[in-house]
């Protein structure tokens, strides 16, 4: 028979809090204080259907894994009554704002530019920004503090210039390369990004399918919206090279061990341990969006005791409380002991740590990364760290012992080629594929990858390079890479009184 709508609606506060997810009722009263995202967001749906809010930020197996079976109260008897009650309910101002946003987005979606009017990765971002929910956009696009590192990641590529070779026979160009021992069709991979269902109902599987079509690697995130197995299932098929696993290390190492060994068993081919996130960063756009959604009203005035209220967090911090800030070099042998997968440290940010990683003999690679500018603002771009790192590795003969990857800020094939010229084995691309997915689903990601490959092929020709082995530091000019003359103050008065030159104007013709 199931639980009646009437009864569910009684359990609508902190004393007794039931919620509906996908037609089933759950008693989450005791779970409230443990919820990583804060109790406030759950209480918003107390006594009601929470599916729409739950789905994008939780893998489908979440309730099975984390809520005791005794709290699974069974199916709703009459969903129609639930829906009717919800429609008759007086909406809060936040809900009304949300409904207005939904209307606006529906119109924007109905009026989207055709997919083939996107000619580069930034075009997808422009479209996505117009069709994504404010909170989803804020979560994907936000970065730490003033977002200086976020933008520096892009800018750094623009401080490197090419020195192309001419008169090379470039009729045939080969984009394929090897990563961690296996061949892939192009030197980029889909790097791990969380909460894919915020952008598209199919979540990370959109990325999986497009990666398979293009024979490039996808790195599966710990904080995916889809479950790990859903993603691996989607990856099946001919031509798909393989998946990697990105790992946030849990304070409970047993959980971590299970995750690693399950991934290895399912055919994942490498383990990328995130080392730049002992604590997830403060991202103010994200925090501001979440505060707006929650009405921003209930939180008491902050005091010297702390800022740990819900509204100061945003989606990022909400989902990360399990991460172990004590993770350190001494933990590496344990990882080596629980898996035979290649181990790569993701988020290395200085040459000294790359050298140290290589000298341990325990890791197979590093990703130079500042986490898309989302962690420590003013962390340098991976490209700048790469240019600092490779000569040192070569001088010490360590460049053959580990593979070096970079991510952050790549939007053009020229960016990829600059990183490869400077010694990277491959590059990770994150947000651009999320935006392509959010706007156009799997077809968007597919087209984004096709555009990148098309640019790569042309740019290699124009650079005079036939294969990845032809790329080297002699093809780039990096003299300005380390130059950051940020924040030059304007001379307002002088600019104010300056009378700029003008071109001839048509109204002059009318005199």
């Amino acid at each position: 028979m199931g639980v009646s709508a009437e009864e569910i609606s009684q359990h609508n506060d902190r004393q007794s809090c039931w919620v509906i997810v996908r037609g089933n009722v759950f008693d989450v009263t005791e779970f409230l204080p443990e919820h990583p995202g804060g109790e406030k967001i759950i209480l918003k749906y107390a006594g009601r259907d929470a599916t729409a809010a739950f789905d994008p930020v939780h893998p489908p197996d979440t309730l099975d894994k984390y809520l005791d079976k005794s709290k699974h109260l069974g199916p709703v008897a009459d969903m129609a009554a639930v829906i009717a009650a919800d429609e008759n309910r007086k909406k809060t101002p936040e809900e009304e704002a949300e409904a207005a946003e939904d209307l606006r987005l529906a119109e924007a979606r109905g009026n989207m530019p055709p997919i083939d009017s996107c000619y580069n990765l930034l075009d997808f971002e422009a479209v996505a920004r117009r069709v994504m929910k404010r909170g989803a956009w804020a979560y994907y696009s936000s970065a730490a503090d003033d977002e200086i590192s976020y933008r520096e990641n892009r800018a750094a590529f623009q401080r490197v210039w090419f020195r192309p070779r001419i008169l090379i026979d470039v009729e045939r160009v080969d984009l394929s390369t090897r990563m961690l021992g296996a061949r892939v069709a192009a030197p980029f991979y889909v790097t791990a990004t969380a909460l894919g269902k915020l952008g598209h109902p199919d979540g990370e599987t959109c990325l999986t399918k497009a990666a398979a079509r293009h024979q490039v690697v996808q790195m599966i995130p710990t904080l995916a919206s889809c479950s790990f197995d859903e993603i691996m299932d989607a990856a099946k098929g001919p031509g798909n090279p393989y998946q990697w696993l990105q790992l946030y290390v849990n304070k409970d190492r047993e959980i971590t061990r299970k995750i690693i060994q399950h991934a290895e068993a399912r055919g994942c081919r490498a383990l990328f341990i995130t080392v730049d996130a002992p604590q997830l960063g403060r991202r103010e756009k994200d925090m501001r969006a979440k505060a707006a959604a929650l009405g921003n009203g209930g939180s008491s005035v902050q005091t010297a005791e702390g800022l740990r209220s819900d509204t100061s967090q945003g989606a990022a911090r909400a989902i990360s409380s399990f991460i172990d800030p004590s993770l350190c070099w001494d933990d590496l042998p344990w990882f080596r002991s629980v898996t035979r997968l290649p181990i790569v440290l993701k988020g290395v940010q200085r040459v000294e740590d790359v050298v140290r990683a290589a000298e341990t003999g325990l890791v197979d690679g590093v990703v130079l990364s500042n986490h898309g500018g989302r962690q420590l603002d003013f962390a340098r771009s991976s490209l700048e760290v790469l240019a600092e790192t490779m000569p040192v590795l070569r001088a010490r003969g360590l460049d053959r012992r580990i593979e070096v990857y970079v991510d952050g800020g790549l939007r053009r094939a020229t960016d990829i080629l600059k990183a490869l010229c400077l010694g990277a084995k491959g590059v990770g691309i994150g947000r651009p594929f999320l935006y392509a997915m959010s706007a156009y689903g799997v077809d968007g990601v597919d087209r984004a990858m096709a555009l990148l490959k098309d640019e790569l092929e042309m740019d290699m020709r124009l650079l005079g390079a036939r294969t990845m082995d032809d790329l080297g530091p002699e093809l780039v000019d990096t003299r300005s890479l380390g130059s950051h003359p940020n924040g030059v103050p304007d001379d307002h008065l002088a600019q104010n009184v300056y009378d700029p030159l003008q071109t001839p104007r048509q109204r002059d013709a009318k005199l």
Copy 2:
């Protein structure tokens, strides 16, 4: 019985000028030419109640200290009559403008963003700008000449980048440090800023109370709106570490001696002598605001003989005529002789002077500072001077003999950490706390400090540092710090004719 409203109103010009302050009448006729702020501002209130204009810019004990008792004419007999007369009086255009501003500000205050929508120190500034009187905003925000140094102070921090360590156990992070021998909870202090009541009726005590809650030091300004004793009284209580005294040196050294010895007796813990202000700077925003308030009409056209009229000064110069421009190195032994407090020189701006200060053996520290950009425009940022200074001090073994502090332009924990990495013992923060206070009072300052601490804790984790001792120059990249490519002229014609790339637009979809 007191003095009648009728009689007071007769004394309304330069021949005989009475004013009411807090219900008492004062004859200031003879004092007019001595008033540091000029006679014009007093004459504006001749024969009337001057309390609202008097209070923000004078400590409450001012009239007792500086006006002969014979001029204290006693209480007003009938304040109601004074108020009624004032209401009926025809207003000048400036007063009408002021009344209109008051209305606008009252509406802005009624419509303020909630305090917890401020996520960083700049947010408070944005709110404060909307709710502060024009003159108060101008006094706080103004700086010298073209305000290049003011903005460079902020920009300099953005030219320093991090080289974070990974895989450090940062579960526990300790923000505390020692300053001039005592422990404080965080490496920042509230630096001295004048005229706190311009921003909030409670003035500097707002800063005092928040500093006590957060266990950080407050430096008490010579030019406070509150009296020194009011501030020290507000500072009492458990947990409050201590106060420092900022000193403008008076031409009359006896006055200075008394101030120092009184501060020492009341428990102040260090003496910061300002050495960058033999004359207070020209701040044009401030001058313009004051001129507007005074109607800007009566001053005769300036001649070659000088510019010393009231309207050319602004609040800053008005309050500073007592400062001794002859203060020099030879005066240091005298300071050493009148107090046992640690002595710190505030406003040092070149390495040669830091070395000289250390070699005198008379001082315990220096503050590298350009006075918030309010004195000499194009004085360099304290961060740049710090990077120049510390290697020299270390080379000469002087880095243990004095402590080096910096202030100016700090808005983020990353700024603080950069200064500490480069060798600062602590950093002073001024305007941001004034803005937080002006917008939200003591709660604003409290939240601002809590936000800073929250950022500090996170950023230390992300930098791989557990304590202040873990911070060092190897964690920063300062190569661009000395680079100031100011004022590159635009290529107007070429920019004018350039047709920028565009992303796909929704209206394209309608074609």
Copy 3:
């Protein structure tokens, strides 16, 4: 009698496709798949008159050369009926947009600024932009990717400064110089640019005539709208020094051989082989314009298999499919064997390749060029490569063996003089003359050249140089030339809260 309008109109699809060009009918059904610009653009005119679209992008002898005589169906019997049918036809949305654009341009043309209100080369660009068709503007103005190299070409000149000599007798200044052995009146030449009829119905002959008047060289492009012979015919006359031939090397070398030998026979004086375009670049403005013209509707969603649909190309790629990407150093002896003309490599981009070219002994010069920024984005400016190249050539004694030319970004005589000071023998100018032509025809190009000469004469006086031989590196300061601090991120929050200084305002006077 000719073919009837009625019959032609039946052949209006892929099964049977006839088109009218200049009053004659052609059966292009079998040619459709071979058309370099894609079949879509032809099918748009199937069964109709295609002259207006055909003319600007094909030399007049195209159909004779490339379409079998059997497909030439003879003259149209009744053009009036064709025209009437076309007028009655329901227009597609794209055609309506085109008609609206035509109206707008006609009005703009009727209201043009007088030619003598153009004082410099950028002024012509401003006028041209307003009177050119969108597609033509897009083709001329577009460049690769983000158009960074395109703009860098101009910016690089602005990073070089003069060190003028004084007190030199500059009453007489001589602008003439020698290029590849012959004297010309000025150190600039008209470089090769494709599709001149997009800008003006007379196409490249406008450039030819103006160059003749000014006694400067024109380089004839392979992809001209006018036929090679038309241009050579227009060049005849006294005073005209000579023409050069720009060559895209065809996969079929026999075609290339014929082109070269015909040019030599007609009196062309040098052969410039383009070496920076094994594949023509992606130019998104151009692609977007072409997609808009084609309605952007029919192309299927892109897949992993590729992006080779029509709309992804633009005019540039459409016309270039014959270019041989396998052209390499080994081909040089063959060129040397088929002609006695001087051979110059156009598009060299690094000093190593200049040295290699000189050491072959087979070439007489190089053009340092990045193809107007239209090929590989982030290719460096020719000026920067020049500054790198000349000292190396001089050190190896190769500077007398080859002549070095540059092009890209020159708009002012100062630009020309900078290049000459740094060792260039002459400079090529492309787009500015196209814009002058598009706005004002041959008179525009004439005035543009006159302006350049006027600037040159004056600037040589001011620089203290009487002849080209007086120009040398001691007259320029190139220290900043290699500096590209691109993309400094703004500090948005701080800028947002900053209250800029203001000058006195008139409304202040009203207070």
Copy 4:
């Protein structure tokens, strides 16, 4: 009796051209082709009163000097009739535009900000721009080509920073210094600028009188609107130190000799020979303004033969045709032979030429200058040349043999102090005084000088300098002076899609 209005009005074309100036009639028919400003501007007034156009650009003794007495036809018989006829005449579109401008300016003048709302030199420029005629503004404010050097002049000062000394007794500060042997009250002088009556009816005498009041030097321009003697007469009086003469060297050396010897006889104290203007520069704003005034219609389309029509010139070229472009080093002994005045070369732009000048033993000083950016665009700033020059002079012991001055771009006392620290003996200021004069006449210039002195006194205190001798290179940081990273291309797409951070907004409070 005089000439009748009726008769004058008959002589209104090229065949017979009479004009009225200050009530007298002149026959300028034969003079038309010789007029340096072109015949067109005269023909505009043929048969009419030309006084208003004549006066600002010609000294009053011009007609006496340059027009044969036989062409002086005597006084107008009936000026009232002339005026009446002029009022009844149908106005040309240009005259109507001029009349509309006059109305607009009269209103702006009636509504000017009070003089004491100008707090710095840039403020005068802001006011002047609103109250000056378009043509006058264009003449004063224009500069060469893209006006890059013009703006670089200002920007260069902003790349030099201070290293102030502290704890110096600066109670007394002395601004006086010696220039070419005599004492002046401040280290700046009024440099020569042409056509003062364009800005104010009293012309250069405004500058003379203010300079006398402030005891600073004025340099008298060759191209003054006032006659030389008028200026010297205005200079008389106690306290006025002296005048200098700026000289454009005439092709007819006898004229030049007379000018020099007359100046020496009248008490001028030095001769500044302009060496950076063998030809006056192209200033497009000025050209555009003149073309607009002349209706821009009559000039035929330009051809390859040249651009020498009136409208291509502007005021600058019109007045300069007498300047001798053959002036060279060999001429210096002649100058030395005709005067005992100190000789200074004005417009030196490279260290080699400063050294050469010093080694001749014939000159007493140089002015490093690029003529206010009005001659060769991309000439470097005088400050940059100064920093290059002084170390070389000192190394060769030449710094005592000549005095080095700079001009261009100075707007603040900090600019002056930077130049003095780097070794300049004094600085010339031009446009700022012209703007102060144009807005407020002699009182404006007076206030501008008073403001500069006030800033100087304060800034010397803050810099820790009591006298000019205390200023030296150790007080400045010039590391960025030579850095000109001009024209960095924007990354439009990425900026377009970036979503900037926002501060809390008041409307958030309403949610």
